[in-house]
């Protein structure tokens, strides 16, 4: 795969010249956030002007304020696109947002996700079968990456055999596309054409969906979607389908990978999870807090002052939920992973109306992926260099593990 971020001027000062595409941010953002939190809202002239709150309270304030901040743009790019394509509901604002989200929510409840558990367990075990005899694997490339892509393909109603295509598009959109619009837009177009094809098939009464898949796959749900009797426009349907694929893959891939990395580096936590399996739900939340993969953005639509900072219309705000999750004012021992942390209001899935639609899917995938791994590979360690993704979803993309 091509390197995502071309050479850029090194950051001079994280409080006044931040750049989340700087390789130091990619490799170890935690100290950078601690430094920025003294500010506490940092600014940069890069990206045509952008702010970056790192305290939980400030991230929450911006997340809740839909009067001054719009979700029209949710990614900060080197070159901003004038008229970004909508991807409802993540790019929707009130009052339209609610309907755009509610069409999806019934298909992502905990009860619906529980029905997918046996499928998830099967996927995990097939993957483990493929490398367990080697005594080692790259847990990012041979395990974590395949679990969410196979499940979202199943839910969308597209062939799992196309997984590598989806992973390439997402790399080109979310990593390369941040600094190279042509590559990102070409991948977006390919993805839209792909869904157009699968919609056309369904209109002819055909499908390439898994015959064991859900009665109503997500492509069909969106094709039949309407608001007040008016069917969703093609642009809406394609935007949502693109979003479901993009949001559902490298986010959870990242979270599963980072969790396994932590357990591979922390034998005490690994032993504890093996001996106290009931701890899993709380442990998952703590791993999500400590290694939250997703950073979103907002565009300032009306001048506003937040924490004494004069935010101007047209500038962007990077909403670092991962930084908020490490704020010591909100989380005692914020940099420590405490598997049974009793008070844990982390914002890994966002705060406010844009709470991740797929959060219950992500949690289920993480729990099953870690449970099945621990059953088959109870003893393992990180053995080699961990390499991290570029861009706004952070997770291990190379994670060498040795077993036994």
């Amino acid at each position: 795969m091509t390197s995502a971020t071309p050479k850029r001027p090194p950051v001079k000062d994280w409080q006044t010249d931040w750049d989340h595409l700087d390789p130091r941010w990619r490799d170890n953002p935690f100290e950078i956030w601690d430094e920025m939190r003294q500010c506490p809202i940092a600014h940069t002239d890069r990206f045509q002007g952008a702010w970056l709150p790192t305290r939980y309270e400030d991230v929450k304030t911006v997340s809740y304020d839909t009067e001054h901040f719009t979700s029209r743009r949710v990614v900060i790019r080197d070159v901003m696109i004038d008229d970004p394509l909508p991807a409802p509901p993540i790019t929707s604002d009130p009052p339209r947002h609610k309907a755009d989200k509610q069409v999806l929510l019934p298909f992502f409840t905990p009860a619906e996700m529980a029905k997918l558990e046996p499928k998830a367990r099967r996927i995990c075990n097939e993957l483990i079968d493929g490398f367990i005899a080697d005594g080692r694997c790259d847990a990012a490339q041979q395990y974590a990456r395949h679990i969410p892509v196979r499940l979202i393909a199943f839910m969308l109603g597209v062939p799992v055999a196309d997984s590598d295509l989806f992973i390439r598009w997402i790399h080109e959109i979310l990593e390369v596309g941040i600094s190279n619009n042509d590559v990102g837009q070409a991948a977006t177009k390919e993805m839209r054409d792909y869904f157009r094809h699968h919609i056309a098939l369904r209109r002819e009464g055909k499908t390439e969906a898994d015959p064991d898949g859900p009665a109503e796959d997500l492509i069909t749900v969106m094709m039949n979607g309407s608001l007040n009797g008016v069917p969703f426009e093609d642009n809406h349907v394609l935007g949502t389908l693109n979003l479901l694929m993009i949001a559902g893959i490298d986010t959870t891939w990242s979270a599963i990978g980072a969790s396994l990395m932590h357990l591979g580096q922390t034998p005490a936590d690994r032993q504890r999870l093996i001996h106290e399996p009931d701890l899993m739900p709380m442990a998952i939340e703590e791993l999500l807090r400590a290694y939250a993969p997703v950073t979103m953005a907002r565009e300032i639509k009306k001048d506003v002052e937040i924490g004494g900072c004069p935010m101007k219309k047209g500038e962007m705000v990077l909403l670092s939920f991962p930084a908020a999750n490490r704020d010591p004012e909100m989380f005692p021992d914020a940099d420590k992973v405490v598997l049974d942390r009793a008070e844990n209001r982390h914002g890994a899935f966002g705060l406010g109306i844009h709470r991740c639609v797929g959060s219950n899917l992500a949690r289920m995938e993480m729990s099953i992926a870690i449970e099945e791994w621990l059953k088959r590979v109870p003893d393992f360690r990180v053995d080699g260099e961990v390499k991290w993704s570029d861009g706004t979803v952070r997770g291990p993309r190379q994670l060498p593990m040795a077993f036994g």
Binding site: Q102, L105, T109
Partner: protein, 67 residues
Amino acid sequence: MKVRVNRDICEGHSRCKSLAPDLFDLDEFGNATEAGDGTVPAGMEDKARLAKANCPEFAIEILEDEG
């Protein structure tokens, strides 16, 4: 003790349902309400407090018994 979910604030994180499944119900969109009239059966007070302490939207209120 009673629990109450502020439905205007709940965003459907379903953390309460995961930690205290007997005390909360989810609607078709995954948003939470208190089960029944919200009464917390004896012995489940800690679960109710845990659910409150893990709601990212601060949507859960606990009404302690008087006296």
